[in-house]
């Protein structure tokens, strides 16, 4: 009988340390098989499972993955559950950010303040006298500055008016400094766009009236919206816009998680048919009796 390496032996597989391989496969699908030097299977598992997971994420505009969170409403705390996360969490590292984002979201639900500076693309409208409204887009820069009643959010917006193509630049201030009116949407939210509501204090370029209202959305940084819990309003919006594709997006991520159970089990126990984990017998190491 010819000698074979353990990994390519037709009857046995060297599973190395099975629990470690299973753990690796949970963290990254196929990583356990890679550790066991079963490269073809590692490729099949990682390509298929991660491929369908990220395809689902892309289909759902990056938002099908989120975990449960607490929401405070009218002095009561509600726990919002996402049962789909129970299968998504089987994908290990790819879905772990959801747990962190859930905590961040809970901590910043009522936080509409500005942490550092905001410098991003903006789209919205500037409304002056009744009936006078201009659609604008450009770059918005906001930061906290000392004001009469404590720190205020101030900044600039420069860009162009959509209707005429005319460039403009304005200075912005909070609409009602010191009041409870929301100037900005929360820092951490599942929406890639952050609401901005401000007053045009000065016009440095262009034909716009000071005192107008600016209402629109600035781009939210990726780390402030990816895998953040979806609220009812955002869920309704996604269902309305994406329809069945939203359902499909979630199904793809759920199936990917469930398929990873097979991958984890394969790393732990080897394939179901035809091969067995290599077990070193005691009499293998002893010389055969003559």
């Amino acid at each position: 009988m010819s000698a074979h390496k353990p990994a390519s032996n037709p009857e046995t597989i060297d599973l190395k340390t099975p629990w470690l391989a299973a753990l690796l496969s949970w963290l990254i699908p196929g990583a356990g098989q890679f550790y066991q030097r079963r490269y073809v299977k590692a490729f099949i598992f990682s390509f298929c499972i991660l491929g369908s997971f990220f395809y689902g994420v892309a289909l759902g505009e990056g938002r099908p993955v989120y975990s449960a969170y607490y929401e405070q409403r009218e002095d009561q705390i509600f726990r919002k559950r996402n049962y789909g996360y129970l299968s998504q969490v089987l994908l290990g590292i790819s879905t772990m950010p959801a747990l962190i984002q859930s905590k961040r979201f809970e901590a910043s639900q009522s936080d509409s303040s500005l942490d550092g500076t905001l410098n991003s693309h903006f789209e919205g409208t500037i409304t002056g006298e009744p009936g006078q409204s201009s659609t604008v887009s450009g770059t918005i820069q906001l930061q906290k500055q000392p004001g009469m009643l404590g720190p205020e959010i101030r900044g600039t917006l420069s860009g162009s008016i959509a209707e005429t193509g005319e460039p403009f630049a304005v200075e912005l201030a909070e609409f009602e400094p010191g009041q409870d009116r929301l100037t900005l949407g929360p820092q951490v939210s599942a929406n890639p766009q952050r609401k901005v509501f401000m007053r045009v204090e000065n016009v440095t370029n262009g034909n716009l009236a000071p005192g107008s209202r600016l209402l629109g959305y600035a781009e939210r940084p990726f780390l402030d919206w990816y895998q953040v819990p979806l609220q009812d309003e955002e869920l309704r919006d996604l269902n309305a816009r994406l329809g069945k594709r939203w359902e499909l997006a979630m199904v793809f991520t759920w199936i990917a998680g469930l398929l990873n159970i097979l991958c984890i089990w394969d790393a732990f126990e080897g394939p179901a048919y035809g091969f067995r984990p290599r077990v070193v017998q005691e009499d293998e190491s002893k010389p055969a009796a003559t």
């Binding site: 099949i44 298929c48 369908s52 069945k244 199936i255 097979l262 991958c263 394969d266 035809g274």
Partner: protein, 60 residues
């Protein structure tokens, strides 16, 4: 152009077939052979269900 929702069945079925077969066998050719067979079986079954539903609802 958007892809009809029904067509998402094919990549999903292919992925399920490949991963399931990979968890059953070690030999690459056996994995691929069984995956193709499973893909055909699932697809035929689903198309059969689709045809049945179509026939039951065609005159409604």
């Amino acid at each position: 152009m958007s892809i009809p929702v029904l067509f998402y069945i094919f990549p999903m079925t292919a992925v399920i077939s490949l991963v399931y077969s990979a968890s059953r066998f070690e030999d690459t050719s056996a994995i691929l052979r069984k995956a193709v067979r499973l893909f055909v079986q699932i697809t035929v079954f689903l198309l059969g269900v689709l045809l049945l539903l179509y026939m039951l609802t065609v005159n409604l």
